[in-house]
């Protein structure tokens, strides 16, 4: 063994749950994630387990994602969604019966959806529990992220806001996994000095920054991103490896854009007669993806029909290439460094399967090749690496994110800047509310808790992200507005001590995340150092 490789998948979706509507379009984000990424990943890991492989993987399961995966209403709706998919694919089997090219694809989806339904039901609809199983078997390290995935550096003007995001996440992790989280994915890899103080309070031992977060650290880290640094208060910061990022993502060399892979956008939800797909659309009169897609990316010219065997062959080639590159990289680094290098490669979990359909197979092939075909690289997790390598350089990472240009531009620009002045006021008001109500009555306690939930939901980095990228901007705008308006109402009610209980009850049932939230985290505390 010459070095360690830590693959980190970041699984996150914003909290989207609309019991007030029988069906809701944006709930599909979760359903597509389960069908195309989370369940396939579980099936792949079950395969490794079945084959007795000693694998290591790290995954973030964000508190919002876990909350949705464990929510009975969303579980029920997902089951309905999956059953609908099976019904649709059965119609597709008939529709494509005489078509030599499409029929095998319809059959593939039919087998796939059946298998996924079996997996979902065999785990008792508990996707979180399935991941927990792998953690308890020592194959998977599950980490957390900020409670609602807020971009922490933009909350830095009010430290209690960061503290609440981290400590609420820690508490939620305990309820999901029965232990404390050891590592954290800082949302969007965004770090700024001061965040580590709360991490220490939460007992968290490591986090990830983008490459320049380590390269621009002070003092300059000797090993670049190929070893973590300890922040002055003892949290290990790992830097993202550049080469492995580029090989998966870059437009020149990136794998998911290969023309043989399945195209994300050509979907029968848009291609077929509306009346035919209508029963499977969440909103009347509006088309969306079904997940049944028959075309390859293709590139120029008429789209080619998806060739599953060719795509899998490509995924195997890419996995082999990726492994070859990692071996070269590791051997090169080992020749320079006086200790085994660690290469940390983080990706969005939803890349594997949802955006890049063959991603789970790529991952499967890559891990299998790594376990069986070489002895240069040892698969590891950051926690295991730190257990084996407790001596590291001390340095303060530099403020950074993995977004465009490396800082906060994606989340703070002319399309979304309007959010922050409201958050700024709401955060300070939350702290004042907590401090002015040291011994609240039962109703006040409920209102304080709900105010905390609304504030957290408004802080989600997903809303400014969507406003910037324009994938569902009206919804994002409405969500920020709704949570802030609910917060403002709660603030007024708490200030006047006239709490509208029926209204509060309704809002509690709508935004029901973090049932045991401790609102006292928003109180000001003396800065803790060491």
């Amino acid at each position: 063994m010459q070095g360690y490789l830590c693959l980190v998948l970041h699984g996150h979706l914003p909290f989207v749950r609309h019991p007030e509507h029988p069906r809701f379009l944006e709930e599909n984000w979760l359903f597509e994630g389960i069908t195309e990424s989370y369940l396939p990943l579980i099936e792949v890991m079950d395969g490794w387990l079945r084959d007795g492989m000693d694998t290591r993987l790290t995954i973030t399961l964000s508190p919002t994602l876990c909350s949705m995966l464990l929510d009975p209403l969303l579980q029920e709706r997902y089951q309905r969604h999956l059953n609908g998919l099976l019904e649709l694919v059965e119609k597709e089997l008939l529709r494509t019966y005489w078509d030599k090219q499409f029929k095998p694809l319809a059959e593939m989806y039919h087998r796939r959806f059946h298998s996924l339904r079996n997996t979902y039901e065999s785990y008792g609809r508990n996707v979180v529990g399935a991941f927990r199983k792998f953690q308890e078997l020592g194959k998977l390290e599950i980490i957390t992220t900020a409670a609602t995935h807020a971009l922490l550096p933009l909350l830095a003007t009010h430290p209690p806001a960061i503290r609440a995001q981290i400590l609420v996440a820690r508490d939620h992790y305990r309820t999901c996994f029965g232990v404390d989280p050891r590592g954290i994915w800082l949302p969007e890899c965004a770090y700024t000095e001061g965040v580590e103080l709360v991490l220490q309070e939460a007992g968290i031992r490591w986090f990830v920054t983008d490459t320049h977060g380590i390269l621009h650290a002070t003092p300059r880290p000797r090993y670049g991103v190929f070893a973590p640094v300890f922040t002055p208060n003892g949290i290990a910061a790992f830097g993202r490896d550049l080469d492995s990022a580029r090989q998966v993502w870059s437009k020149q060399e990136g794998y998911p854009g290969d023309l043989r892979y399945r195209d994300f956008y050509r979907d029968i939800g848009f291609d077929l007669d509306y009346d035919y797909v209508r029963p499977y659309m969440p909103i009347e009169g509006q088309r969306t993806f079904t997940g049944i897609k028959y075309h390859a990316i293709t590139g120029e010219g008429e789209k080619r029909i998806y060739d599953r065997q060719a795509a899998l062959h490509t995924a195997a080639e890419h996995a082999g290439h990726f492994l070859g590159e990692r071996i070269n990289q590791m051997q090169h680094l080992a020749g320079i460094m006086d200790r085994p290098p660690v290469v940390l490669s983080p990706y969005d979990a939803e890349l594997f399967g949802h955006w890049w359909y063959e991603g789970p197979e790529f991952l499967d092939y890559f891990i299998r090749k790594t376990v069986y075909d070489q002895n240069v690289i040892e698969l590891s997790t950051p926690w295991e690496y730190l257990q084996k390598n407790p001596t590291q350089q001390v340095a303060t990472p530099s403020a950074s994110s993995w977004g465009e240009e490396g800082y906060w531009k994606v989340w703070l620009n002319d399309k979304n800047e309007w959010i922050y002045p409201h958050l700024h006021v709401a955060q300070e008001r939350m702290t004042t509310l907590v401090e002015k109500n040291p011994v609240p009555g039962e109703l006040q306690t409920r209102a304080l808790r709900q105010a905390g939930r609304e504030l957290l939901l408004a802080q989600s980095s997903d809303w400014p992200f969507i406003l910037r990228t324009g994938t569902s901007p009206d919804y994002a705008r409405q969500r920020v507005k709704t949570h802030l308006l609910r917060f403002i109402s709660l603030h007024e009610q708490l200030a006047s001590t006239k709490i509208d209980e029926p209204w509060l009850k309704r809002v509690e049932s709508l935004d029901n995340i973090f049932p045991d939230i401790d609102y006292r985290y928003w109180a000001r505390v003396r800065t803790k150092s060491p």
């Binding site: 007030e20 597709e92 529709r95 005489w98 694809l105 969007e188 890899c189 220490q200 621009h216 002070t218 300059r220 000797r222 670049g224 991103v225 300890f230 002055p232 003892g234 550049l242 993502w249 870059s250 998911p256 994300f264 956008y265 050509r266 939800g269 848009f270 007669d273 969306t288 028959y294 293709t298 590139g299 120029e300 969005d348 955006w355 407790p390 001596t391 001390v394 530099s398 994110s401 993995w402 977004g403 465009e404 240009e405 490396g406 531009k409 994606v410 620009n413 002319d414 800047e417 700024h424 997903d462 990228t469 994938t471 569902s472 919804y475 507005k481 709704t482 403002i488 150092s529 060491p530």
Partner: protein
Amino acid sequence: MKQDNSKRNGKRPTTKSAAAGGEKPKSAKPAIPPELLEGDETSGSGPAGPGRRYALGPKPPEYAETGEAGELPEAYGTKRLLLAARDPRWLYAHWDLTRDQLKEYNSLSADRHLVVRVYKDEIRGQAASEIHVHPESRNWFINVPQGGAKYLAQLGYYTGKGQWTTVSTSDATLTPPDTMSSDDSVWFETLPVELQFQQLLQLVKMAVKENVPLMEAIQQLRASGFKGLPDPARVSPERWTAAHDKALSELITMDRVRRIWIGSLEITELIRRQLLHDRSSAAVSQFSIPSSWSGAVSSFSSPLGGWERRKGFWFNVNAELIIYGATEPDAEVKIGDRVIKLRSDGTFSFRFALPDGRYELPAVATSADGTDSRSAGLAFSRSTQYKGDVGKHPQDPRLKEPSPAHVA
């Protein structure tokens, strides 16, 4: 929300079904074999490739209103000035003033608008920049010269006698550094992850003064001969030489980092953009406009002294032109017959005034070895027609007309 989908799409809903595998079995009409229809209609110029976060279709969905009705307040009137570094060169400033408060301060100001002064390190002496803001604006993106620096801001105005009056002062904000640290000192420490922070903090609390970071406290304790600490580091500095340093630093340069800043957003966007580019270069531009330029434009547009004082409704308008692009860093790019200077990552941009008229900016990129070249014939025209009393919005006087002569 409810509507006839076929009307919304502007075409018969069945026309694409062939491309996806055949006709829906719904009518008695003889089915046309899908092979015959294959190619009748393609997916057009819509997006293609791998997926993208939060995409629910090729286009954003139409929206069903949900959640709370009502609007957020325009402002809360706290008079606070929020200052936040967005990246090494840009700050975001926001002042929380209601419409009445804004009106009041504008009327007190000799310029009829507020001014933001930005200071480095402390509010003293000459401001690093002074921005005259629009009378109705509550925020501004401000360009600053230095990463890794501390900035503060003041919001205020000048009275008729030229006296400065402060309305609000911000807290300090730190711009992230954009260079490697010059500090190359090395300090290793051993911290077994099995030891819980609480235990360690308890340990050092007894012996070390407060407010010393944990790693320093451990070091101090160890120096004083304290027993029961994690084993000290066994990393011998003499094994690490300048040659090691050089070899490792060559593996990663920040230029390489900058060329692929790709996280959860950009990746698939980049691939998508590339695919779109192949289809239609015009479609690319909408994804490529860096939002900071809107900030750049706005923050340059005001240091020209006062706004014209008007009563009642008014309208000022103006236009600028930004040319930007990227190629291999070692390529040669010409606009007209002028060779332009590329940034180290191969990008370039130029900002021009855009008065009425027609302008041509032919651009040619040639690879370093001269074997490959690409060109674009950029042509622009502006023709303004005013109706009613429309003013010319102030513009940075340094901007010149779009012409190859002005790209140097």
